[in-house]
Symmetry: C2
């Protein structure tokens, strides 16, 4: 990455982190995302809404994708997300030909980003300490909710 | 499949086809789905709503998943869909551990169902002529809309 890339990705990640923090303040799961256009403009942003809306279909990435509305093409777009995308959200990226995924962290959850990279998506993993802290704290305090969100039975 | 299985799957597919036909009558893309519980009860049903709601995130399968609300586990559930699930919807099935996918047809679109089978999901492909006809007619009449729904650039 060039310094310019690094600065752009860090700026985009801030948008996703803002969404995650808003979700946390709402009592939700702190995962946020944004879909960035070819020109760097924010097409849509959103956050996990399982708790807030009782809706398991709204992950950060799907919320951002929805907020961007109908698009004729996703070529050149970037999905920035605070957390490695689960299979559901990785499938979204692959199906619609989103070109790049910028990921806050993959320590607390390792989703489908290796699969995306194998299938031609540019994957940028930032390993951001703030993102790690958000999820580490949340999972420790809400293990059942977290397991529900990723379809794990857990020990509960 | 036993005769009982065949009858159950055909019954479930009728629900998905009803959803697809409702979508078509609304001017939408005719793909429907339902999530069926361990006990055979319908947990949720829905249809593609790209056109109706201007929402690209609502495919038949994600609509059915949303309609089922929050579930602690998807073990033993079946997603029945009129069309082979795209990567987005295949990712949904894998992430949440939905046990079985019953598919109306995969002639007009071949999604991620082989990948699901490789990853432990029971895949039942019915090759239903009514489902094939619905999509064949729709794609012939609306090629641009169909390409948009699966993230293809098309020739347009």
């Amino acid at each position: 990455m060039t310094d310019t890339d690094t600065a752009r990705y860090a700026h985009w990640l801030r948008i996703a982190v803002e969404e995650a923090r808003t979700g946390l303040a709402e009592g939700g799961i702190p995962i946020g995302a944004a879909l960035i256009g070819r020109d760097g403009a924010v097409l849509g942003r959103g956050r996990n809404r399982r708790v807030q809306d009782g809706d398991p279909s709204v992950h950060g990435e799907t919320a951002a994708f929805k907020a961007a509305g109908r698009q004729r093409s996703y070529a050149g777009t970037t999905m920035v997300t605070t957390l490695s995308p689960c299979w559901y959200c990785s499938g979204l990226v692959r199906q619609f030909g989103i070109s790049r995924v910028v990921i806050g962290e993959a320590r607390t959850f390792h989703g489908g980003h290796d699969w995306l990279a194998e299938n031609g998506v540019e994957v940028v993993l930032l390993d951001d300490p703030e993102c790690v802290g958000l999820m580490t704290d949340f999972i420790a305090a809400n293990p059942e909710l977290w397991n529900e969100d990723i379809g794990e039975e857990g020990d509960a």
